[in-house]
């Protein structure tokens, strides 16, 4: 652990926080728009670059970074997620610039609302980074709660009846859900405080995990269920997922991209941390069963809901529930393949969903609506957007050569290896519903005939570039996963399983692949 890495971890969190504060104090009446935009772009670029640098160093050197005592901590597991926050944060943040300019141009947003937007956007990034980097379990919870508080005003940005209702539902359901998370966290802490030799260490995840301390199993069971329900609410898992389609569809498109693509994954990371603790005390049976049940129910409900939607953003929001359900299922399958599939799915889905939500921003700019029945003939109206849209939905359906194919195949292999045959059959059938929903969306929007009065023309290169970059990433990860990512996922899987060595290279099926 070097001093510079420690400082970089602190700088990583401090940058968006400082940018948010600066945005808040700068007077919106005197300053032109671009001042906020420059600040916003500057902050997100620094976050992205330092997150990438830190993630790669941690993965390649195999050394963990601690900061501010043991309060903050970056291991390979955290590295996977700060990579996601940094990369998607920058691209969604970039897309925010043209999108907001459009909204100011047609008088949907005032100068003050734009200022609020950039303030809360940076605060949002900050809270996610704190959640992912916390080693202090109470701090983890505080940060997850803070993500709700930072984003609720973004969801309510347009200040109309729909967005206010969505924001209220989001606020009440998530705070109640996350209160379960607090209860679970407190139970783990209390359990650790009496089981560990040094009770002051009970607040740190790194001291709780691998300690071999005699935790009370019943308390741990209750704590795990509470944590899964609590942080699962934030992740969009059944039964408290009902806020998600409203909030993710009413938020401004770049925010939806970040909410669906990244924030849900941060909550998943916290669930994974509790999963590791629970498996240690209870064995893998109970935690896996809980994840399997919640996962499969989420997938089924969300897949059918996708098919029913006439609002493209609601469709994508339900698809997020479905994909987080897949992640939960993978945790339920367990083993190195299951955990790796869960992590890969988090990363891949993050990029794909960010792409698709940004594309709904293009559609919004061109058509001024989110309804599938009114968005027609995108191919004639905005050909580049149409091509990107097709790529986005095809990859969301899990087709090769795009990234999601890899994680879904890995999930199915994990299911078969772990012997969950019935679950995998149901899962496979439900995936066909997802494919149907994706192609229904393509055929309705892209392959239909454009209305006579539609104004043709693209949304502008500046808005398209981040989307093209997202497509490049999705394709790149799908056909040639970079060595650093593979190593990172392997090291993260080892942390979740608390095992040493090359857990993936020695895992069933993959081992045979490499032996030849």
């Amino acid at each position: 652990m070097t001093l510079e890495s420690t400082l970089l971890v602190i700088a990583l969190m401090a940058t968006p926080f400082a940018a948010a504060l600066l945005t808040a104090v700068l007077p919106s009446k005197i300053l032109p728009h671009w001042a906020y935009e420059v600040l916003h772009a500057f902050s997100l670029t620094i976050v992205c670059v330092s997150a990438l640098y830190l993630a790669i160093t941690v993965v390649l050197n195999g050394e963990n970074v601690q900061a501010l005592g043991s309060w903050f901590y970056l291991d390979a597991l955290g590295a996977v997620f700060i990579f996601l926050i940094g990369a998607v944060g920058l691209l969604a943040g970039w897309y925010s610039l043209p999108y907001l300019r459009h909204k100011v141009g047609n008088d949907t947003l005032s100068n003050r609302q734009v200022k609020h937007y950039y303030f809360f956007f940076n605060l949002f990034i900050f809270t996610m980074l704190v959640a992912v980097l916390s080693n202090n379990i109470i701090m983890m919870w505080v940060a997850i709660e803070a993500t709700t508080l930072a984003t609720v005003f973004l969801v309510a940005l347009y200040n109309n009846r729909f967005s206010l209702e969505a924001a209220w539902k989001y606020l009440i359901i998530c705070t109640v859900g996350v209160a379960f998370g607090l209860y679970g966290t407190l139970l783990v802490y209390a359990n650790g405080a009496s089981a560990l030799a040094d009770s002051s260490q009970a607040i740190f995840w790194t001291s709780l995990v691998g300690s071999g301390a005699p935790f009370d199993p019943l308390l741990m069971q209750i704590a795990f269920v509470f944590a899964v329900v609590g942080f699962g609410t934030k992740a969009g898992l059944f039964p408290l997922h009902t806020w998600l389609p409203d909030a993710h569809s009413e938020a401004p498109s770049p925010v939806s991209a970040l909410l669906s693509g990244v924030l849900l994954k941060c909550a998943v990371l916290i669930i994974m941390r509790f999963y590791t603790l629970a498996v240690e005390t209870l064995g893998s049976g109970f935690p896996q069963m809980i994840m399997l049940i919640i996962g499969i129910v989420s997938v089924i409900i969300a897949a059918f809901a996708m098919l029913m939607q006439d609002d493209v953003k609601r469709l994508l929001a339900y698809s997020s529930c479905e994909n987080i359900g897949i992640v939960a299922l993978c945790l339920g399958f367990g083993g190195p393949l299951g955990i790796a599939a869960a992590l890969l799915h988090c990363v891949f889905h993050g990029f794909i969903k960010a792409l698709l939500f940004c594309l709904t921003g293009n559609l919004d700019m061109k058509y001024g609506t989110r309804e599938l029945s009114k968005i027609k003939g995108v191919l004639q109206v905005a050909p580049a957007t149409a091509v990107l849209l097709v790529i986005g939905f095809v990859s969301l359906a899990g087709f090769p050569p795009f990234a999601l194919f890899v994680s879904e195949v890995l999930a199915i292999i994990a299911a078969v290896v772990s012997g969950n045959i019935i679950v995998v059959v149901i899962f496979g059938l439900v995936l066909t519903v997802v494919i149907a929903a994706c192609f229904r969306a393509i055929s309705k929007m892209v392959l239909s005939k454009a209305p006579e009065d539609a104004a043709k023309g693209e949304v502008g290169v500046f808005a398209l570039v981040p989307q093209i970059l997202l497509v490049v990433v999705i394709l790149w990860f799908g056909v040639a996963m970079p060595q650093q990512l593979f190593k990172g996922i392997e090291a993260a899987t080892a942390i979740v399983l608390q095992e040493e060595g090359n857990v993936l290279l020695e895992a069933p099926v993959i081992k045979d692949l490499f032996d030849e």
Partner: protein
């Protein structure tokens, strides 16, 4: 040992106050009842502090007094004064008898669950622990059973109180920063909820959760 007995007795008052809060007709009354419950909570913290010798609980009782007895009710009363909602008492979604019956079921279930816990710190205060777990679920009952958005905010506060008491009972030596973090967070949540409720009242013109139904499916 008598200190723990007092804690257990005081904790039953938490259940009573929350029931009165849920059944209260107007949100204004609910605010005062919430303040009363918070006083009981402060008393529990102090008694627990002297019984267990964990002096951190005294400072904790001070933060609880400031945030829960003063700030939270004050914020809500202030918001109610500013909004002047036309229709103060809305009939609940669930009949009062159903709510009371639910509460009884919750308490019984929580007693059963808690009886299986073997943690040494929990042994003396099992009844209080069961009550704190029950308080958490009574908070949820409040949110589900009430139409008034303000009452729903109190429901969240009840849940928060439940987890607060559980933490004090199970880990009285918790570091100061933990308590302060949780207490600050609770106040922040209430502030954000009140801001959102005010904005909704201005735009939609209601504080009735049943009216928030434009988004479906």
């Amino acid at each position: 040992m008598s200190g723990y007995i007092i804690v257990n007795i005081l904790s039953t008052l938490l259940i009573l106050t929350s029931l009165v809060l849920i059944l209260a007709k107007s949100p204004r009354k609910a605010a005062y009842i919430y303040g009363t419950q918070a006083l009981v909570l402060v008393a529990i913290l102090i008694t627990l502090g002297s019984a267990s010798g964990a002096h951190g609980l005294y400072t904790w009782s001070i933060t609880a007094f400031i945030t829960k007895v003063i700030l939270v009710p004050a914020i809500l009363l202030f918001a109610l004064k500013k909004m002047k909602p036309q229709q103060e008492d809305m009939p609940p979604r669930l009949a009062p008898t159903v709510t009371v019956a639910l509460t009884v079921v919750i308490v019984v279930l929580c007693v059963l669950v808690v009886s299986g816990i073997t943690l040494p710190t929990a042994l003396e205060v099992k009844p209080a622990l069961a009550v704190s777990l029950a308080l958490f679920f009574i908070g949820i009952t409040c949110i589900i059973s009430q139409r008034s958005i303000i009452k729903q905010i109190f429901g969240f506060c009840l849940m928060e109180n439940g987890s607060h008491v559980s933490l004090a009972l199970l880990a009285p030596e918790a570091p100061m920063l933990v308590e302060i973090g949780i207490a600050t967070d609770a106040v922040l949540v209430v502030i954000v909820m009140v801001i959102m409720a005010t904005r909704m009242y201005r735009t939609i013109g209601t504080l009735d959760a049943n009216e928030i139904t434009k988004l479906r499916g």
